[in-house]
Symmetry: C2
Subunit: 337 residues, 2 copies
Amino acid sequence: MDAPVDPSEVEFDVVGIGNALVDVLSHESEEFVDALGVVKGSMTLVDEARSGEIYAMTGPAVEISGGSAANTIVGIAAMGGRAEYVGKVRDDQLGTVFAHDIRAMGVTYEVEPASGGPATGSCLILVTPDAQRTMNTCLGASVHLGPDDVERSHIERASVLYLEGYLFDPPEAQEAFRVAAGYAHEAGRIVSATLSDSFCVERHHGAFRDLVSNHVDLVFANEAEILALYGTEDFDVAVSRVRDDVRFAALTRSEKGSVVIGDGEVIEVPAAPVEDLVDTTGAGDLYASGFLHGFSRGADLEACGWLGSRAASEVISHLGARPEADMAAMATEVLSR
Amino acid sequence: MDAPVDPSEVEFDVVGIGNALVDVLSHESEEFVDALGVVKGSMTLVDEARSGEIYAMTGPAVEISGGSAANTIVGIAAMGGRAEYVGKVRDDQLGTVFAHDIRAMGVTYEVEPASGGPATGSCLILVTPDAQRTMNTCLGASVHLGPDDVERSHIERASVLYLEGYLFDPPEAQEAFRVAAGYAHEAGRIVSATLSDSFCVERHHGAFRDLVSNHVDLVFANEAEILALYGTEDFDVAVSRVRDDVRFAALTRSEKGSVVIGDGEVIEVPAAPVEDLVDTTGAGDLYASGFLHGFSRGADLEACGWLGSRAASEVISHLGARPEADMAAMATEVLSR
């Protein structure tokens, strides 16, 4: 496949926009998650008071920079891609941590931290013994990401724009989402988005349907998300619907791999083997890293999906949603075949 | 061996005093550590400006609560011991993290956070590929731990007082150290201390010699530290000196295990096997956890040393200095033999 935009004509391969969060990971029992009344494996939005209540009940934790699109962008940079991130933190300790970590991975990150208002957003991630993660997100400063933080020149300078569905939660960010997609299309760039979470799709169902039908060229979704989008329980039905709606799609199915759709063609891609499943946090984010890295460099869709599978299997073999292995070597190996 | 104090007569087994720090761990190359001009494996004190400089150069990091004596106390609580901690943080995000994590492990922690002054202390830990850790500590709020933070009733209610040698670095904490040791001895408690770091011993050589000779009943040290204390290069010379100086000693020698001294008797204890050496941060701290837990419960000295070896081998098999395995089961297994 040809690259969607000639890489030599742009400064960046991918620019991602998302909720900038620091993850707070702790190991908890199934009973603990049940007692909270949240659905295991889902993301629940909580306010600062509720976040504090849950935090007080959790065990000792580890803090690692996160945020769905930020994880994806870090993965792309780790593979050697030229990557930029847009998201809002506050000028506090966790905001400093977030900015340090994303820049330390070679990502361009130029958004000014907020000097007032809520603290840097956090995501309490409860990792159960089955390696599933259940998330409680306090959006904090990330809700203040608005259209003003999205500069036209920053969107135009990347081949692919990548947006996380979680952006539909903060109202200002929804608008930033649409503005950014407009800038990208006006410059002839590709607009991609992930649906993020089936409950997020249900919360903003109309907006997501409009998004996929009218504003996005490449959509990422897992099985639950694509079923929620089309209100069906039949995966094959969802596949046929998404084929009509968007030019490209990558539908992930955990250990069953992914289904990649491009210009009507449907390709099944296997999952990559995982030696030691520790924490599924970031699996979808890193799948998107691999796919987008291949895609922006003009790899064929099967290779894009396979690089996604490989990257996902790396991130679920350790705690946290940021890659630790030599991702550049992995990308070179997959893309040079 | 009889317990030093009848456990039924006290509320706590061990109370630890130390510099309260949040660890910031990143993986770095040997060349990176060389370029900083610090000695690999050592702890260097840095001011806030230098800490910021080093942080700006490091790769993406993980934040985990730390502090040498705090790690030891957490290990004791994890084994089922009744444990208390005294150390100072600020009322900022990392201070909240520190207090949450230590309390989440069941440790009693009642020191008020500082409402002004420097931020919560941090320790930039550079983990090299050989699993060695090189530490750059910015003491921050922990320098404000002073004699006023040490309440006589809190010291009296524990069988064993445990002090980290790093406390000799902040001037007020030195005084807190002496005050606490006085309270403990007046109540008939055991005073234990770790020498912490050979460079720390050299920085405060006279104070450490006085400490070991006159104020401490049980001393923990690794090979480099005990050699630095007695100004010798011969381990056997150091062993014979320490036998004359203190009633109990536990001298750790990495993969060679430890030498335990009690009332003049010298016992060699092997190291416990390690399947996968990841990060040596906390090895000495967790050795002290195992030893002190056994000691406070009246285990014989060989069992104390072996529980120390087992706990150390657990903590070096993953990132960070806080235990992750079922330490209570480990303690029960070792102590019931």
